[in-house]
Symmetry: C2
Subunit: 692 residues, 2 copies
Amino acid sequence: MVFKVTVNSAWRATRTLWLLVLVSLSVCICVCRASSPQEDSAMENIVTEKKAEESHRQDSADLLIFILLLTLTILTIWLFKHRRFRFLHETGLAMIYGLLVGVVLRYGIHVPRDISNVTLGCPVNASPATLLINISGKYYEYTLKGEINANEVDNVQDNEMLRKVTFDPEVFFNILLPPIIFHAGYSLKRRHFFRNMGSILAYAFLGTVISCFVIGLLMYGCVMLMKKVGQLGGDFFFTDCLFFGAIVSATDPVTVLAIFNELQVDVDLYALLFGESVLNDAVALVLSSSIVAYQPQGDNSHTFEGMAMLKSFGIFLGVFSGSFALGVATGVVTALVTKFTKLRDFQLLETALFFLMSWSTFLLAEACGFTGVVAVLFCGITQAHYTFNNLSPDSQDRTKQLFELLNFLAENFIFSYMGLTLFTFQNHVFNPMFIVGAFVAVFLGRAANIYPLSFLLNLGRRNKIRSNFQHMMMFAGLRGAMTFALSIRDTATYARQMMFSTTLLVVFFTVWICGGGTTQMLSCQRIRVGVDSDQDNSMSITEGPERRSTKQESAWLFRIWYNFDHNYLKPILTHSGPPLTATLPPCCGPLARFLTSPQAYENECQLKDDDSDLILTDGDINLTYGDITVSTDGSGAHTSGGTAFAGAATSDDLDRELTYGDHELVMRGTRLVLPMDDSEPPFTDPHHGLRM
Amino acid sequence: MVFKVTVNSAWRATRTLWLLVLVSLSVCICVCRASSPQEDSAMENIVTEKKAEESHRQDSADLLIFILLLTLTILTIWLFKHRRFRFLHETGLAMIYGLLVGVVLRYGIHVPRDISNVTLGCPVNASPATLLINISGKYYEYTLKGEINANEVDNVQDNEMLRKVTFDPEVFFNILLPPIIFHAGYSLKRRHFFRNMGSILAYAFLGTVISCFVIGLLMYGCVMLMKKVGQLGGDFFFTDCLFFGAIVSATDPVTVLAIFNELQVDVDLYALLFGESVLNDAVALVLSSSIVAYQPQGDNSHTFEGMAMLKSFGIFLGVFSGSFALGVATGVVTALVTKFTKLRDFQLLETALFFLMSWSTFLLAEACGFTGVVAVLFCGITQAHYTFNNLSPDSQDRTKQLFELLNFLAENFIFSYMGLTLFTFQNHVFNPMFIVGAFVAVFLGRAANIYPLSFLLNLGRRNKIRSNFQHMMMFAGLRGAMTFALSIRDTATYARQMMFSTTLLVVFFTVWICGGGTTQMLSCQRIRVGVDSDQDNSMSITEGPERRSTKQESAWLFRIWYNFDHNYLKPILTHSGPPLTATLPPCCGPLARFLTSPQAYENECQLKDDDSDLILTDGDINLTYGDITVSTDGSGAHTSGGTAFAGAATSDDLDRELTYGDHELVMRGTRLVLPMDDSEPPFTDPHHGLRM
């Protein structure tokens, strides 16, 4: 009797799990089969309705495959986590399941040729977005789906089933990537991000461009070689090579960061990698669209031309800054709305507003011709930095959890789709030479990004990026969702098809091999783990002289930003910060009083907590405050040392602080912070400051 | 100086709000304008790409309109809630904003005729789902969108803009309704629902069918009259009338229930209304599709035919029970998965799994040809009743909040779209006679549902549905999202267009007038408010003799269900309930031990809490347990009085209980429950029960 075996609960769970896996897969495949053309005797005479219904059923079944795939992935992830099995991350797993289902769909299911696809040879000159067709007196509306290669026409009719599980690539950019990118911005660990801002920006902007051009040049060499050997089956221009360079430069170390998080790896390394990967997605996206926009005039459309190059560069700048501005703008609007209304009393409304405003960023950017995904990234960062502080605690949790869930679902969906598409995509061009060339180029491109830039940055940083960090960053350059989405966006030409197939292999390799080897690499490079991110400052002191001060690096950038943010932006957009009446010049008095929230006067103690994620130590805020004499006159307006004074004081404090040793500063920070909590807020009547 | 005026914070907030409202609306309309055909010099030579991009921009702008509308709605709702203004619910408000934007889109924006829409007159006989068109050597793929009336062809070309903001009606059924309906099921107040189950089922099934036929017959009379007077501009068959009856029978008292919730109206009334409206959506949906499926054979396709009628009835039963079974099945699978895995340690995975499984219900039902929305409803109820108990507390919150948010967004989206469509829909047929007839019919149909059924139910109920409750139920028969979605699903014929326009007016009227007058109606009918739903039993005692016992009503249904659920379903699907080893016959011993979770033995005290939402008083569980002697032998298996005995005991206890007075029972319930919390669970080793 099978039940007589002694089983423990984990084994029982495993058995149940695999039972479910089998049942789900068989259901999934049965449904696929069942949904292929079927008899439905009820509505025989209405052909179009039946067609539409059939198509809807098929769509539901296709989507169901993915949902069940995700469910399986979740169950297996749980099993892995339960057993502390770290060699395969959930994304790698999703790809494997996708591969398996792809094989089944490709070879296991045969759908008879659908004879009702008709090819028309009508004498039309344009291809309008909407087409009205008069079929025996009735008008039918058709919408344009896209152009199809002449040699694909047979495929289209043959493999309706496979084409059905192939999503419109724009789905990635319009539905799946936005939540992923927003979540990345929203969950950026801001303290460490801002501390390493200079280096992150260098890696993300300069590094991505370097990587793009290095890979592009190498691939051009490879393609030239292939042409000579006679292995090239179609056109492959230099712009194509550059485009390939741009798309494979978008790193996505989601696997690595998940392990970093779990093992609590050094926060600076985490910040560098996370910041770089978040921003370089945006850079690579805009870069690739500028490369596509490179269109020299005249007949010879693939030569170098200065004007076209400049124009591409202009497009890059315009699109990037436009998306940036839009993203920040909607973030700011959300912050203002949540600040000046009492929405926090109704958490559902607050969460819904937050969600809608963040989504509208994307739509607004797309409607204006900018890049929605980039806008959403900067919107996420702004929301986290300002709006988040205005939300009620309940909404803070809700929004975090909501975007965490959306991110999780979208990410796993993309990765399982990636696995699936290796078998279901019908125009793969696997060229061994190109693939080998691409792997070499990707490796060298990443190296040309990390090592030279790290060397240059180390000249300016006091907290050097050590060589083991550099090796780890090199190793952690996985390619993921963004690379895939960019490469599948356009697979019309031979060059693009070859790129797509190669990109898929690059993603598979990096996610499985580099992602799976993260723990080994960490121990091999002797990178310390188990670092509590809140205590790293004090820990770094005990570690050695080269980590003693994290202050000087990007000091000028940081100082400017910090002063501006702390004195003006935070008070305008949140309830915390110094009252604007104290920081703005006196001529702006009425405006300052209008914008300053009554809580700002009360919150002067609380603001340390809000701000502490931004600044190096908590000491300097207190110093700033210590120097401003806040007094009130009869009208309730604040008089202080004035803006110039306040600003100067802050700079002085920062300077003074930067000359101190780290150890002393931390001590001072802790010493100075604590007594402030007992100090009385200057006002207790919230309306007091508004009357004049 | 404007800032010198003394303002309080609420006023300032209001001002900021309206400023934002204005800015948003102008942005929204600017974007609409900006997105109409524009110059984009970069890609002049690629016509299709530009077209696709243009179309994408337009889509983004259209969606943006709705997002901004929702944002405005949220802000205004906040203002209303802030001021405790109850005359207009958020859904009514969303409609008003939708109306305003509809007016602007219709009359304010003029888009030049898009000349690139081409009407082809090709000699094709069929209308395939996919069309390949060979345009000067290149192949373009087109997908079928639907049939268009011959007289609309000009409109299509004229009002591209208005047609763009018109969604595919299937969006409602596939995207917007599922979360609404799932949320309804998931948030059903189960205790009061099950207590009134008999009445609710009567109102939902019998009542909806009565209402459908009464309205159908009245409308048929009205249509006949119109034909005589010469006011009918097209065909209008009896099946059309019945179809109209079915769609306007779906009540959606979301406004009323929101106010009920806020004012804490009598829980029985709440349960009756909520249960009825949730279930009758499902009934009306399946009913309407069975009416559409009514297709007598032969030429004369609009006469009565017995076989076709029977077939329609069969379709109704088949689709309803199939959807029910699928919904319950996926709920049960989710419960089993969450019971037997330790997913609760990873809340994100748990929530994601819950979400995906619930979604897969919908897709599975649609793929199998059943009704996804109905399946989702029963899935929601099952998830709430079983799976919810297996989730970690964190996931319980997350899933509740997630579906609350989705429900909120979808609901407000539908209502604002409803407002918009009054002006943007292009084939309205407003016929005064039909409209007046419809209002009368809707009123009489509702009356024919509520009053006769209440009379019949009161014959069997000991807790009578009093006449003021009946009037309130009559008044609360608002029409909402489901009615709208059903009526917009098919607007191809003259009859359907007239129905759609009339339905819109019915929805507007009921939501604004009936929804807005709820508070007045409540006080007018002297229905008590401020009832704490957990204490209503004790309150009913003090109220009067006619409310003393709520027990006898639906006693047989309730007793059967309760015994089965408590003895078998709960122990199988959750960690609570009596161990299956005690309730199943001894021959099923191994299976019972396999299915019983180790916690079940420990949770015997805890299960009172889980179950208390189901049963009338907590006393009977304790009695059941008091009678079963739970003892353990060496192998850890439970021996008890045996199933037959346990079952009999439960029945006896229920009987005994039903003869007691309410007051005594409540007392006894409280007295008996408390000491049990101190009793030791029989097992402490979770694995003990598994070894044999």
